[in-house]
């Protein structure tokens, strides 16, 4: 009897762990954008969460255009074949990533670049302004209500029925997209020429400029890469959660920002670690403490960690960032 209760407990625990990690991986993807931008220009880009939201609406618009339904259009393609769905989703990814990247790049060019030498508060307040602009674009695009995102990835369980654990195609997709992107980004920053330039700019912009690095270009590209990750995150998030709304950028942006701070803002592995921790705390908190406390728990842990490790979990003593 005790054993039975125990196995039920572990089953539920494992389930919450899987789901929490999947949610955390999504948050991590958005957190990377915060942390990269902070690492290089020490700006908390509050508009990042809303950029992510616009990526979601763009994907939904693409789906509607290809007859899969959304934004008030009925699905015209009945029972689409998996190949068709896969092609469209790949299109979503290939359109949303450059779109969000270009948008972030443009925002940097128009709003933040002229303020590069201004006091730190000026770009920060501008970021909040950009966030509001994006939110209103989202309101205009999708309306005030929660918008349903077609359930294109089946909830079919990949595990055997007897195991009592659900690991669905959706979870597989989340890990399948986020993990390679994170690995790719780490390798890129570590080994590519541009990555090296990014790290150099983060360490010392003046010295980097003296070494012949076009720092403005490097910063712009950092914004573009961060934006592209948000675009990828948007497609995956929308497919997993199936609801998007113009206000979603705020809550998810807050989680992602917290993840970045938790892991040590400016550190790429820190953002990933922070995202996963937040995902797990959100899920365990809801399951074992109470749904209403989940949010408080996340920020409670953030405060605790910042008290004992002000630089975040992976915050190092060197000034290496990005």
């Amino acid at each position: 009897m005790i054993f039975a209760a125990d196995s039920a407990f572990w089953q539920a625990f494992t389930q919450q762990t899987i789901d929490g990690l999947a949610f955390g991986a999504l948050i991590a993807l958005v957190a990377l954008g915060y942390t990269m931008v902070y690492g290089i220009v020490e700006l908390i880009n509050f508009a990042h969460g809303d950029l992510f939201m616009l990526g979601c609406f763009l994907s939904l618009t693409i789906l509607a255009a290809f007859g899969l339904g959304g934004l008030g259009f009925d699905a015209t393609v009945k029972d689409p074949s998996p190949v068709y769905v896969a092609v469209i989703l790949l299109t979503c990814l290939l359109v949303a990533m450059p779109f969000c990247g270009a948008l972030n790049f443009a925002v940097d060019w128009v709003v933040y670049k002229p303020l590069r030498t201004a006091p730190k508060l000026a770009p920060l307040v501008s970021a909040i302004g950009v966030s509001f602009i994006f939110m209103n674009v989202g309101l205009f695009w999708g309306g005030a209500q929660d918008v349903n995102f077609p359930n294109l990835i089946p909830d079919t369980n990949l595990m055997s029925e007897g195991s009592g654990i659900r690991f669905t195609y959706k979870d597989a997709m989340v890990f399948g997209v986020t993990v390679p992107l994170m690995i790719g980004l780490t390798l890129f920053v570590q080994y590519s020429r541009l990555g090296k330039a990014m790290r150099a700019t983060a360490q010392n912009p003046t010295a980097a400029k003296l070494m012949g690095i076009d720092t403005n270009k490097v910063i712009g590209l950092t914004f573009a890469i961060g934006g592209a990750l948000a675009g990828a995150g948007a497609v995956v998030y929308a497919l997993k959660v199936n609801t998007i709304s113009y206000t979603m950028g705020f809550q998810n942006g807050l989680y992602a920002f917290t993840a970045a701070v938790l892991g040590g803002i400016g550190r790429i592995p820190g953002a990933v670690l922070g995202g996963l921790i937040i995902g797990l705390v959100r899920y365990y908190g809801s399951a074992y403490v109470g749904e209403t406390w989940a949010g408080a728990l996340i920020f409670g842990i953030l405060i605790l960690i910042l008290v004992f490790r002000p630089t975040g979990l992976l915050g190092s003593t060197t000034r290496e960032k990005v």
Binding site: D146, N151, N242, T243, A287
Partner: protein
């Protein structure tokens, strides 16, 4: 250092003086009002996700005024009826806000032509504006507030509802049955559906939590249904999978959500299905709107049944009283029949307001208030009903609705029987 009168300073003084004078003048103009105008205002969340339902309410209300040509004759004077459609939500919040509701109530209070205040949509908002309007003696008719504590003693905090009536007079009435009826009716329906154990979720708001608590109480005390747990959600969250996973592990026969579409009923339904829980979900009238189907996605309703109770009958079941006339006139004015059930309540509010004005016989807030509350045996869109001493309608007819083919369809008429405790089915 001597004080020097500079030109900018003079300009500033003049500017401020002009502003003060202007304010005083406009205040005067407002205090007098226009002698031949009677204003009816409504305060509803016009931006944000309740837009669909409040559009219907406003359309119904406008129809009632349109039918009398925006004119009313009281005694030997004919007044022009003006209608102000105030918003108590902001686009940024996506929901009603305290500041906005206070501003609306104050606007009505300071404008002497305002005789009737139709509102609010959210019970929380009513708590804010009720005391303000009570002091101003304005008749307040709500098309949608269902929190029992707004009117009924011993249903909420011990100071309720007296704290909403600082003058001691009653000025608030509602044309919808309150949640104590709805929560009990929902439990009765859950029992009829054969549920033995239920899990209850709520959105932690006045309306949602109130109705969920009543559902909880009735399930336990009246029908002996096991309540596996009750938990509040934070409606700012975007998804609730961990919670629904926990609910699934408790193995309920039915999940009840006390909340609205705006507080994520659609997402809860979706997450319920996505964790593989396919028992029915039931919600109150705040989920009985097309937005619920849109936000949860039509295909979700094929995987699990969804039930919504509603404090009245849906449009197509309006066969008594002025129901058929309402549908005919609505279609004639707007070119299509009403879609949201709340349209009938908006219309009913307009009718009650006009009737109160007529019986009051003069443009006087107190007379209108008394006449409104004295509404008796009134034949409206939902049949014959009266207001009781608290300002509550005595109508107890409710409907149970479900979703079929992406549309809400009427499932059954639910009538609260006081003796249902004694003979459970």
């Amino acid at each position: 250092m001597p004080f020097r009168v500079t030109l900018p300073f003079v300009l500033l003084v003049l500017f401020v003086a002009a502003g003060v004078a202007g304010l005083a003048l406009s205040d005067n103009a407002q205090a007098k009002g226009k002698p031949d105008v009677i204003k009816i205002v409504s305060s509803l969340p016009r931006s944000g996700s309740a837009r669909g339902q409040t559009d219907s309410i406003v359309q119904g209300l406008k129809l009632a005024l349109h039918e009398v040509n925006h004119q009313i004759t009281l005694g030997d004077r004919t007044y022009k009826l003006e209608y102000l459609d105030l918003d108590d939500a902001t686009a940024a919040a996506g929901n009603w806000t305290i500041e906005q509701e206070i501003a609306n109530a104050n606007q009505a209070r300071t404008d002497p032509d305002v005789m009737v205040y139709v509102g609010t949509y959210n019970s929380g908002a009513a708590k804010v504006s009720m005391p303000i309007l009570n002091k101003a003696n304005i008749l307040m008719i709500s098309p949608a507030n269902t929190a029992p504590a707004l009117t009924k003693p011993n249903t909420g905090d011990k100071h309720e509802p007296q704290c909403y009536r600082p003058t001691g007079r009653v000025n608030f009435c509602r044309v919808v049955p309150a949640d104590d009826v709805q929560g009990a009716v929902a439990a009765q329906w859950a029992n009829e559906l054969g549920a033995k154990q239920v899990y209850i979720l709520d959105d932690n708001e006045v309306y949602g939590k109130g109705i969920a608590d009543l559902f909880h109480k009735t399930c336990k005390e009246k029908f002996g249904i096991t309540v596996l747990g009750q938990e509040s959600i934070d409606s700012k969250q975007q998804e609730f999978k961990p919670l629904l996973q926990k609910v699934k592990d408790a193995k309920p026969d039915l999940v009840y959500f006390g909340g609205t579409t705006q507080t994520k009923a659609g997402q809860i339904f979706k997450d319920m299905i996505s964790v593989g829980l396919t028992c029915p979900m039931m919600g109150p009238d705040g989920t009985f709107e097309t937005a619920m189907i849109e936000s949860a996605g039509k295909e979700s309703f094929e995987k699990a049944p969804f039930y919504a109770t509603f404090g009245g009958l849906p449009i197509e079941e309006l066969k008594d009283g002025r129901g058929p006339t309402f549908i005919k006139n609505f279609t004639a004015l707007y070119g299509k029949p009403p879609t949201e059930a709340y349209a009938a309540y908006g219309y009913e509010c307009g009718l009650v307001a006009l009737d109160a004005l007529k019986r009051a016989g003069r443009k006087d807030r107190d007379a209108v208030r008394l006449a409104g509350l004295a509404t008796k045996d009134y034949v409206g869109t939902i049949g014959r009903w009266s207001f009781d001493a608290n300002g509550d309608t005595d109508s107890k007819v409710m409907s149970g609705n479900t979703v079929k083919d992406g549309k809400f369809v009427f499932d059954r008429k639910l009538e609260l029987t006081t003796d249902s405790a004694r003979n459970p089915p």
